[in-house]
């Protein structure tokens, strides 16, 4: 299964991330690495977080309408 991180950012600045395709504890490590990078390098500090282990991907791709932003 392909590894992926999906992040949804709402208009209030809340981030919802979905880590899929990782084995065992690999997922937790990747989530920590990602969060630390956002905080230390990019100045995005997490005020509160909720982490839920899951078996299925969230599927929100069906309503994608356009691509945006290139950096």
């Amino acid at each position: 299964m392909k590894k992926s991180i999906k992040v949804i950012i709402d208009e209030n600045g809340n981030l919802e991330s979905d880590f899929s395709g990782f084995k065992d504890n690999e997922c937790k490590g990747e989530e920590e690495k990602f969060r630390k990078l956002l905080e230390v390098k990019y100045g995005i500090f997490v005020k509160s977080s909720k982490i839920i282990p899951k078996n299925e991907n969230i599927n929100r791709n069906s309503s994608i309408n356009k691509s945006i932003i290139e950096v």
Binding site: K2, K3, S4, I5, K6, V7, I8, I9, D10, E11, G13, N14, L15, E16, S17, D18, F19, S20, G21, F22, K23, D24, N25, E26, C27, E30, E31, K33, F34, R35, L37, L38, K41, Y42, G43, I44, F45, V46, K47, S48, S49, K50, I51, I52, P53, K54, N55, E56, N57, I58, R60, N61, S63, I64, N65, K66, S67, I68, I69, V71
Partner: protein, 147 residues
């Protein structure tokens, strides 16, 4: 094994960079290595472009009192403008809500925040080796990084 996380976040520019920023700053003051400031400026520029607005260095309250700011965005719908300052590393938005029936002040500031976070998340994923795609879903942004 998969995992879903929800974060409530706040943007903070490192103080070592932010202390160099004042209301009189211009783009030349911002050093190449200052990633957060560069992202913030890009986020502001994108928000202004999306809303058909202009980037300014001053905003006004309902009574016409002027406030200088690091950057600001004025639009046709909200000509008083939303100012953006950095205080102790925190990104602060300045606008007068009085008479802002369309809630443009909140809309503009939220868009800058969301743009900043989108760019930062994209770059972080790229740095971790992911191939990144970004999409808009209504008012939300979806960033997909795949290995």
């Amino acid at each position: 094994m998969s995992e879903q996380s929800s974060y409530s976040t706040e943007i903070r520019i490192p103080v070592s960079y932010a202390k160099n920023v004042s209301v009189a700053s211009n783009i030349e003051d911002i050093k190449e290595e200052n990633i957060c400031m560069k992202i913030l400026q890009k986020a502001i520029a994108l928000a202004a472009e999306d809303l058909g607005g202009a980037i300014v260095d001053n905003v006004f309250d309902f009574d016409g009192k002027e406030s200088k700011c690091f950057r600001g965005i004025k639009t046709k719908e909200y000509p008083r403008g939303v100012g953006i300052n950095i205080e102790n590393g925190r990104v602060i938005y300045i606008y007068d809500t009085y008479g802002d029936g369309g809630k443009w002040g909140k809309l503009i500031s939220s868009l800058v925040n969301q743009n900043y976070q989108t760019i930062a998340v994209m770059r972080a994923q790229e740095e971790l080796g992911y191939k990144v795609q970004v999409h808009a879903i209504g008012k939300e942004k979806l960033i997909i990084g795949s290995l």
